[in-house]
């Protein structure tokens, strides 16, 4: 049974790596700034999921905290980038 699970984890990790690569291409190529922000958003979520996969493969729960931290900081980062695009400043007076 473990062979099937290992194969599934490998497959999902490969998928997430490809997804992250596509997002990175969009990050580099993106014609306007909003494309880049969207690509950044996709990238951090894919990276977080990939980290969770790593935790599954090594059967450890230590990766959970890292994933939570990535999710929170990525959220704050994307919000402030989008806010900057919207107003030209992050914290309004």
């Amino acid at each position: 049974m473990n062979a099937v699970l290992d194969a599934a984890i490998w497959f999902a990790q490969a998928c997430l790596a490809i997804a992250t690569t596509f997002a990175a291409i969009r990050l580099i190529r993106g014609p306007r700034a909003q494309d880049r922000v969207l690509a950044f958003d996709t990238m951090y979520i894919n990276g977080m999921l990939n980290l969770l996969m790593l935790g599954m493969r090594s059967s450890s729960t230590a990766y959970f905290d890292m994933a939570l931290l990535i999710a929170m900081f990525g959220f704050v980062g994307t919000i402030s980038l989008a806010k900057f695009l919207l107003r030209g400043e992050v914290i309004e007076p």
């Binding site: 049974m1 473990n2 099937v4 699970l5 290992d6 194969a7 599934a8 984890i9 497959f11 999902a12 990790q13 490969a14 998928c15 997430l16 490809i18 997804a19 992250t20 596509f22 997002a23 291409i25 969009r26 306007r32 700034a33 909003q34 494309d35 922000v37 969207l38 690509a39 958003d41 996709t42 979520i45 894919n46 977080m48 999921l49 969770l52 996969m53 935790g55 599954m56 493969r57 090594s58 059967s59 729960t61 959970f64 994933a67 939570l68 999710a71 929170m72 959220f75 994307t78 919000i79 989008a82 806010k83 695009l85 919207l86 309004e92 007076p93």
Partner: protein, 131 residues
């Protein structure tokens, strides 16, 4: 690789969920890459953010519960967080894109200097009264 033997009830659903999650996420990223306009590209990643992340996190919950012989629902926190956070991000990016597109169009239409067009765009944007 993992040396622990997972029971069948956890391993099989987790494997199926992982495969579905991986396929959904990669499809969303393909959409991000090859759809023609920004407003269409907007819809691609939200696939990976909802169903993709959900599948992977449920699989992770199943596996860690099977490993420790008690229900581990840690991952549900990340799920809740992503479910709350990703629509907020998408809405803000969308508003920013609409605003920037409109400013750009006005700038092109009026052929004015960039500075005045940006200032006008800012005035009729929905700035709250306190701003």
């Amino acid at each position: 690789m993992s040396t622990v033997e997972f029971p069948l009830w956890a391993a099989l659903p987790a494997a199926i969920l992982l495969i579905i999650g991986g396929l959904v996420t990669v499809t969303g990223s393909i959409g991000l890459l090859r759809l023609p306009t920004f407003f269409m590209r907007m819809h691609g990643p939200s696939m990976g953010n909802t169903l993709g992340a959900g599948c992977v996190l449920i699989a992770s919950m199943l596996l860690s519960s099977a490993l420790q012989h008690r229900p581990i629902i840690h991952e549900i926190l990340i799920t809740v967080f992503i479910v709350i956070a990703s629509p907020v991000t998408a809405m803000l990016v969308m508003r920013a894109a609409v605003y920037r597109t409109r400013v750009n169009e006005e700038r092109q239409r009026k052929q004015a200097t960039p500075l005045t067009a940006a200032a006008e765009g800012k005035q009729d944007g929905e700035r709250p009264a306190a701003g």
